[in-house]
Amino acid sequence: MFGQLIIEGLSIGACYAVFGIAVVIIYKTSEVINFAQGEMAMISTFIAYHILNVYGLPFWYAFVGALIFAILLGVFIEICFLRPAKNPSVLGLIVITLGAEMLLMGLAGWKWGAEQKDFALPFSFHKTHELFGGMVVNDWAIAVFVMAALLMIFLYIFFRYTKLGVAMRATQQNEHAARIMGIKVERVFSFAWGFSSLIGALAGMFFAARSTLDPAYMLEPFLRAFAAAVLGGLMSIPGVVIGAGILGLLENFFGFYWPAWKPIVAFLVIVLVLCIRPSGLFARHYEKKV
């Protein structure tokens, strides 16, 4: 049972991690917490659902279609919602994302209705593989582990060895200096939003396959992923992954031994980390000199 709890904790943790990375990518470039992240993923998943059920196309068409839509949606929100804000403060931008969240949820309710829908991935949770000591792992969990690992490798290479990745880091550290160095900061922001939306959509599809698809289904995973990001450090991608793993394990062990306490573990973690180490467990702390 102990081993199974670890597998289950790590698999849901990996899903939080992927979604948490989506939150961190926007934060890393603009220091904005995107509260519409969950609803952007929800709308993209609904697009996949629509392609599958209305147009009757195979899953991979729906998958790619949803990811393309997710990129366009992220770019659209950045250009049409955030960019027009004059002299925006970070708080102002966060409020705009809250508005976008409500708008997207309303839009999904209007278009697809509030009734829950079934969304299945080719990686079925029905198909289980026996490991050792009676432990089992299912295809859904394996797919999540693989996705999280590939994403980590890609992001490591991207931020370290590509011009765009370096430009994103530079923009986050000092937007003004980045402009002087010739970085087109607006493009960097648009890219970050599109990229983050794509990663969010990936996680969104996995979450929907595990529960149901409806306009509100990403509210709770967003809070968990946000807690994981705060725990690991909002600036650190490996930190988010480790934070999400810790959170998944904590929640599963609490859920097993003290079920009534499970729902509040994530929020206790946020409060504790913010009190003891505000920048998160693994984030490097930058101090600006006057």
Partner: protein, 398 residues
């Protein structure tokens, strides 16, 4: 001098304000010679919108009555308002309906919190409310003079379901997963009541929050405790997550649920077929039944609300409105709130498509029985036990 006049004016103003706020004093009437206005609130939009169907169902019953000339010459006008499952909004829409439009009676109305928010207001304004679409003990214990409940208590349902599992299925290892609120705890109380009567105890009792999406640890706990049947008082998404999670670890107990998850067509669809074999309580005849009354309702829904799916929630809306229509018929031409109250209070063994209802001035919990259904292939309803009374019910012994 000015100060004195100010004080006098303020007192007069407050007096006028207080006087005008006396409940029911200035409200428009809920009926005239041509029509009787009945209303429902419900979540037509927002996350709980699937339950909004229960508020739209009464409109079809009203249309059926109107097609036959109405009740003693008066047509029924059904008005529905969206409260978005938000108690603050329930207050707003109910106030508007009572004070601006004029409503004779409310029917249906899901959301325990929304109902509790307006229960006293409706009583103060002497507005009848028949068939709240949820089971809340506070609605009827102690009896509220204007509120008549149709919905069986979750406690009674829990007791009947536990009895079925132990005695008919022969399963002694019972686990319970319950939503950590009044709804879930009432169901748990019913299971405990039955098991204690049988000198048994549940092997696991696990609370869940309505929003939780990862229930791996809960399912592992059930498996570890050796639960061979799991009884649930949860919402549809939680129910689906529980079954999906159990499938990921190859855990296959007999799942049993409250009537709230008895919309098999929906549940089977959103669970990817996992709902087949699940047993639930039920508070009315199945919507896909061949019973002539249900067939009539199904045909009417096709005619008057073709855009609606005739599922459990929609038909339940019609069922909750049935006793009010019956009472209006019994009253005759001289319609008044007092006369309808008298008709409702004297209803004994009335049965539409729901359970048998009996109300008296001292008892406004109308039903004490549930059916038991099983989800068949493709979400088809299989009736496995007809109306069953909870003989252990405390409230009937009072």
């Amino acid at each position: 001098m000015k100060g004195k006049w100010f004080v006098i004016s303020a007192i007069v103003f407050l007096w006028v304000l207080t006087f005008s706020a006396v409940p029911g004093l200035c409200n428009p009437p809920g009926f005239d010679d041509k029509e009787i206005r009945i209303a429902s609130w419900g979540p037509l939009t927002g996350p709980a919108a699937p339950w909004g169907a229960v508020s739209r169902g009464p409109a079809v019953l009203a249309a059926m009555v109107n097609e036959q000339g109405g009740i003693h010459g008066r047509k029924i006008k059904h008005i529905v308002r969206d409260d978005m499952y938000n108690p603050a909004q329930t207050k707003v829409v109910v106030k508007e309906l009572v004070e601006k439009i004029g409503v004779f009676s409310f029917v249906s109305g899901p959301s325990s919190a929304g109902g509790l928010a307006v229960k006293d207001y409706l009583a103060q304004n002497k507005i009848i409310w028949v068939g709240p679409a949820t089971s809340v003990k506070e609605y009827v214990f102690p009896p509220q003079p204007y509120l008549f409940s149709v919905y069986p208590l979750y406690e009674d349902e829990g007791s009947v379901l536990a009895k079925y599992v132990v005695e008919k299925l022969g399963i002694k290892e019972i686990g319970v997963v319950y939503q950590n609120d009044t709804y879930g705890r009432n169901g748990l109380d019913g299971v405990r009541q039955r098991l204690s009567h049988l000198n048994m105890k549940a092997v696991a009792e696990i609370p869940v929050e309505a929003t939780e999406k990862d229930l791996s640890s809960h399912v592992l706990k059930l498996k570890n405790a050796g639960a061979k049947a799991v009884l649930m008082w949860v919402n549809p998404t939680t129910g689906v997550v529980l079954l999906k999670t159990a499938a990921t670890i190859g855990y296959k107990p007999q799942w049993v649920s409250s009537n709230t998850l008895s919309d098999f067509a929906l549940m089977n669809k959103i669970s990817g077929g996992l709902w087949e074999g699940v047993i639930t309580g039920a508070f009315m005849l199945p919507p896909d039944s061949d019973d002539p009354r249900v067939v009539k309702y199904r045909e009417a829904a096709k005619k008057y609300a073709p855009e609606e799916r005739f599922g459990v929630f929609f038909m339940a809306g019609m069922m909750f409105a049935e006793p009010l229509i019956e009472a209006l018929k019994r009253v005759g031409k001289n319609l008044s709130t007092g006369a309808v109250l008298k008709a409702l209070n004297s209803m004994k063994g009335y049965q539409g498509v729901g359970p048998k209802l009996t109300w008296s001035p001292d008892q406004h919990q109308g039903s004490d029985s549930v059916q038991i259904w099983k989800c068949g292939p493709g979400g088809k309803t299989i009736l496995i036990q007809d109306w069953t009374v909870n003989e252990l019910a405390h409230w009937k012994k009072k």
